[in-house]
Symmetry: C2
Subunit: 230 residues, 2 copies
């Protein structure tokens, strides 16, 4: 460990990961933001990630290319259509086609590698298990199992120097609570991008799961979302 | 699960992973081999992986580019020199600079994603915890923790359909035993590549940890290695 606490923060450019990065900065971590260009159809989120990383004072922002389309199997990377207009009940039923196989496992593994080269023990990820799409790799039991594995996988764990910690400050917050926390942390909402299926001009569709969850969160928090919908 | 058992087999092109693939084939798995172009200085191993995958009848062979050099921190991907001529005692002391941070965690995570899109539950990796370089992510306790995490990370685990299994058939074999097993499974040793630091003509150096372990294995097994040393 270095004197100054260093952390790796996964950053998609969406509301949750941006709030998570702001939270880590408030906790006085020097943050290395990590984003992935993985073949997502909403690749425009990487521009948002760049803006957010700069605005929140990340020490460095790495955008790593990793083409998950070679495996296929998701509406976010393949040719399957993104579902629109689903209600809360529908979202609660099973895992949707926007699930990307093992995505958070892959992203956390790469964050772990980055952290190890920085000799950092702290990794932040903005997963949420309340107002979410039902992805298995957002659940607290998954995160706990990943953390345990990470401490057996790396030099630091073996040499007993330090323990890897996966921080999930948003895990138990509702979307409205995340919006309120983001406001308290001065996150510039207008810089973030949540939509899975933006139009050619980059405007959010307003109807995919991610848009619907975001809109519901702002509405319940009583805060206006500056993001423009198509 | 499909009727025919499908497996994802990590394949570097070295002796161990080639033997592991041959073992999976003998167990009648239909094998999808997965290799990584990760910035390794011994990139020539990918040619070996292609030859081996074809010779052993893999259904498909995916070589995925993933540039781990963006993180640095290893003699295998960075500018640090590969250590030569180390004795067994020296190898037993601590983790060498050829360790690539979180490499097996990353490779297994990507194998997990590939397996999930194939609806396969079986992943093979040729890790060995006897005649090895002391990497933390080759140890049985790491593999067990990864397997547990994988079953919480994926659709199949959540829906209780099937359990992910990480197969490590070489884990407890000495290098000599691996050589004998490879011979029994008709692995063509001449197709494989183990050296971390080959010369421009692709010949093995004979002095890095990987070469030394390989040479010791063949010697103890009383089998001639057709690989040419510089």
């Amino acid at each position: 460990m270095q004197d100054c606490k260093t952390a790796v923060c996964l950053l998609s450019g969406g509301l949750d990961s941006s709030t998570c990065l702001a939270y880590a900065r408030r906790q006085r971590f020097e943050c290395h933001a990590l984003s992935f260009d993985y073949g997502q159809r909403h690749r425009i989120e990487l521009d948002a990630a760049r803006r957010v990383a700069a605005a929140l004072g990340a020490r460095r922002h790495v955008v790593m290319p990793i083409d998950l389309r070679v495996f296929g199997g998701s509406a976010l990377t393949g040719d399957i259509a993104v579902p629109k207009g689903r209600g809360a009940e529908e979202m609660a039923q099973g895992i949707p086609v926007t699930y990307v196989p093992a995505r958070n496992t892959i992203f956390l593994s790469l964050a772990l590698a980055y952290a190890e080269t920085l000799e950092a023990a702290d990794i932040f990820i903005g997963v949420n298990a309340i107002d979410y799409s039902g992805y298995p790799d957002c659940r607290p039991e998954f995160i706990a199992a990943f953390e345990r594995m990470a401490n057996l996988a790396t030099k630091a764990g073996v040499e007993g120097r330090t323990s890897v910690r996966i921080h999930t400050p948003l895990s138990k917050l509702s979307k409205a609570e995340i919006v309120r926390l983001a406001e308290e942390l001065h996150v510039d909402f207008g810089l973030t991008h949540s939509c899975y299926d933006p139009d050619p001009a980059g405007r959010a569709c307003g109807q995919c799961d991610s848009c619907l969850l975001r809109r519901k969160g702002f509405e319940e928090a009583g805060i206006a979302d500056p993001v423009e919908y198509a």
